[in-house]
Symmetry: C2
């Protein structure tokens, strides 16, 4: 026997392993529970409105189920009161826009479809007991086919998808059940009124208790996206022309977070669709131009694609030697910092719904710096350098120049939106700029991107 089995190895048979597994089970369960608790806590901390929403759903359901418990209320609706409970479960959404959209869709579709279903029932009864199911089945088939196809129209899908679904549902319910139930009109009426009660209860709870306005979320998200690009450009200058190898945590974060802008299109579209259902509230008036937010978002994303290209030069294999990079460092850094300033300024004033010329000033200075950079590039600065090694730095310079154009476009779109949405005008007073103001700014910028602080050199008069 060459391989001697040690007593320890021998003892690890299936029974031992089973008992070991059983022993470790409480630990495993404990670990899993801890993990879930940790995740739950994080979800709640990231957005406490989630906890509030959950409580609101519980409250609304408990309120509506009172219809069942109290005899006087129950007598009004009977068993149909259950529809009110179901409506609350289905309609009460996180944001006011989504709840209103679903509630109105549900109410309107139920009203129209219940009427049409009753009509179909009346028409079908004329054809006698034998012909009735055939006629009803034909109606159901036709309505289902047409309405289902209508759900594919992009405009219908965006706004009335749920309504079309409920239309088919109610039409079937009323017309089909008419065959066995003579009190169709009573049923149609009950269904509509319970859905009305459920929808209204949802809306009241949604709007009156800590309402979540999705339009505000869209507004802040568009502003935050612009701010993130600004943060990147600020960090980029330091990182690309850095002296030491280490970079601080903030810079690392800034160089990463812009990536969420690249894929923000669909969430912005969803938010804009919901926002259009919301009534005027606070600074967001009736007919607030939500569509223009999508335009600003698209141009911001175009800028983000350029920023992504810029980012790839940070980790590129072929790098321009530091001494060559150093030659363009001053104007290049200046352009990127002024661009960053413009974007952050825009994000900040846009968020506060103020129109100022402060971002334009930054763009102007970035253009001046760009001219410097261009004239530097025109000189035979890099005569002895290897062309291949020079390309990355040259590309960076050219990208930075392009980004200025992009920012110009963002600024234009933001101004258009500001005019259309009647942002208040600010008589920004520009303090005389310090010679080394740009260096100071980078230090003074607040690290919180979601709520950019106002730029230090601007005093808002209004």
């Amino acid at each position: 026997m060459e391989a001697v089995t040690s007593p320890q190895q021998e003892s690890s048979g299936p029974i031992t392993r089973g008992s070991q597994w059983l022993k470790s089970l409480p630990n495993k369960v404990c670990d899993k529970t801890m993990e879930i608790a940790r995740k739950t806590k994080k979800l709640g901390q990231d957005d406490p409105r989630r906890i509030v929403h959950s409580l609101k759903v519980g409250l609304a359901l408990t309120l509506v189920s009172l219809f069942y418990y109290f005899k006087p209320l129950y007598d009004g609706f009977g068993d149909s009161a259950m529809w009110a409970v179901l409506t609350v479960v289905v309609v009460l959404e996180f944001s006011v826009g989504a709840t209103l959209g679903k509630g109105l869709n549900r109410m309107l579709a139920t009203l129209v479809a219940a009427g049409l279903g009753f009509g179909a029932h009346c028409l079908a009864t004329l054809s006698g007991r034998k012909g009735e199911p055939i006629l009803i089945a034909t109606f159901v088939f036709i309505i289902a086919v047409i309405m289902t196809f209508m759900r594919f129209f992009p405009k219908m899908k965006a706004r009335y998808d749920y309504g079309l679904l409920i239309f088919i549902l109610t039409f079937c319910l009323v017309s089909v059940s008419g065959y066995r139930n003579d009190q169709v009109l009573k049923m149609a009426h009950e269904r509509f009124s319970t859905i009305l009660v459920g929808s209204c209860a949802s809306l009241i709870v949604c709007i009156c208790i800590f309402p979540v306005w999705i339009g505000e979320d869209l507004h802040n998200s568009v502003a935050a996206n612009i701010g993130m690009l600004g943060n990147f450009l600020e960090a980029f200058g330091d990182e690309y022309f850095k002296v030491s190898e280490e970079s601080n945590e903030n810079i690392k974060l800034y160089l990463q977070e812009y990536r969420s802008v690249l894929t923000s299109k669909s969430s912005e579209e969803t938010m804009a669709n919901f926002a259009r259902w919301e009534p005027g509230h606070g600074p967001f008036g009736y007919r607030h131009p939500w569509k223009m937010y999508l335009k600003v978002g698209n141009i911001t994303r175009d800028c983000a694609y350029k920023v992504e290209a810029l980012n790839s030069y940070l980790n590129s294999k072929i790098q321009t030697p530091a001494e060559i990079r150093g030659k363009i460092q001053v104007p290049c850094k200046r352009v990127s910092l002024e661009c960053s300033g413009a974007l952050k300024e825009m994000a900040s004033t846009f968020r506060k719904m103020v129109r100022t010329r402060s971002a334009v000033m930054h763009i102007e200075s970035s253009k001046k710096a760009a001219e410097e950079l261009k004239s530097l590039l025109k000189t035979n600065l890099w005569e002895e350098a290897d062309l291949l090694e020079m390309i990355p730095a040259a590309s960076v310079a050219s990208l930075v120049l392009e980004i200025i154009e992009c920012i110009d476009k963002i600024s234009e779109a933001v101004n258009e939106l500001g005019e259309a949405a009647c942002f208040r005008k600010s008589n920004a007073t520009i303090l005389p700029e310090q010679p080394d103001s740009i260096q100071q700014e980078t230090v003074q910028q607040d690290s919180n991107t979601a709520m950019p602080v106002p730029h230090c050199v601007i005093v808002v008069a209004e």
Copy 2:
């Protein structure tokens, strides 16, 4: 009187205008109808499966409503048969994955929640007629709060969102109605069995009549995205170094269509989520690695960002003069064509679920061409040129070089996926390449991107 009102002007009062509007009304209605008809036709032609789906919904609803018409079937379920109809309306979705996901969620959630609701009802009745509503209301509140919060967990939202909703709904339905209705168990049982019937009817119609597999859509969409980037790179070489001002329609299309790749992330994620519900079918086995499609999609998008940067040089204000561009034309065009070849080859073989080394050959030749380009860039090629004017061409060259790396990554991810999904291996026979094969390829490429044709130099053996 200076301004004499002519009789014609005078006659255009409100009545005349009204009658003119009335006269033009039929035309307006006619125009609108024509427009809707045109849009409907286009929707149907773009994807005829939409028409089929609409007919399927009509059919399933008509079938399920038979439960109401035929006495023997009706006696089994009674009025609850209506739940089966509602289930069909809500569950029957466009794709098998979505229908299965919703159907299984609905059935499972109903089963569990009905049981739990019955338990809650039994527990509550113990506390007497007065305590019952208070206890039930407490249960409803707790369940609603917990389940609503669970819907915020990203993993739950992706797969079980609908199930959690139905859980709350059924729990409320069973526990609350137990207060007025003694036959709670019968009700819970009826609700579950009708939902079972409705879900099964939906599934049968969805799977048996022209099924739409969302997994296949995801597969084709990922392949098409890779192909689109290939098309762009093919067109880019011609467009950037073009001699004449005119460009043909195909090239214009190719230079545009890649933009849809930039924003494909969320639709790919939705498709992957649904695809995971689908059973094995055809070449897509059980536990097909749908998640890896997302990885390929992400890397393809990273490549698309670089392509976007490349595209911006086509319309850039500062352009390198044509004679300077001409100096790098041959190797640069060769790199972009080989990259294009690699991508199109990958798209084609990936789509057919074949593993070949043919794309790798293209990547190898693109790398060779890249070395040529690099050594050309190292020579003092552009000594007399203005550095500023030179930058765009240099950037294009550097981007093209970077795209090779990206394609290498795509190829790696595609191969990984091919291995995990057991794509069949192909003994591709490589015909000896013609010296001017690249020029020929551009002519021979098929213009249909959705279904890229196999590359002409590859003979698939299996």
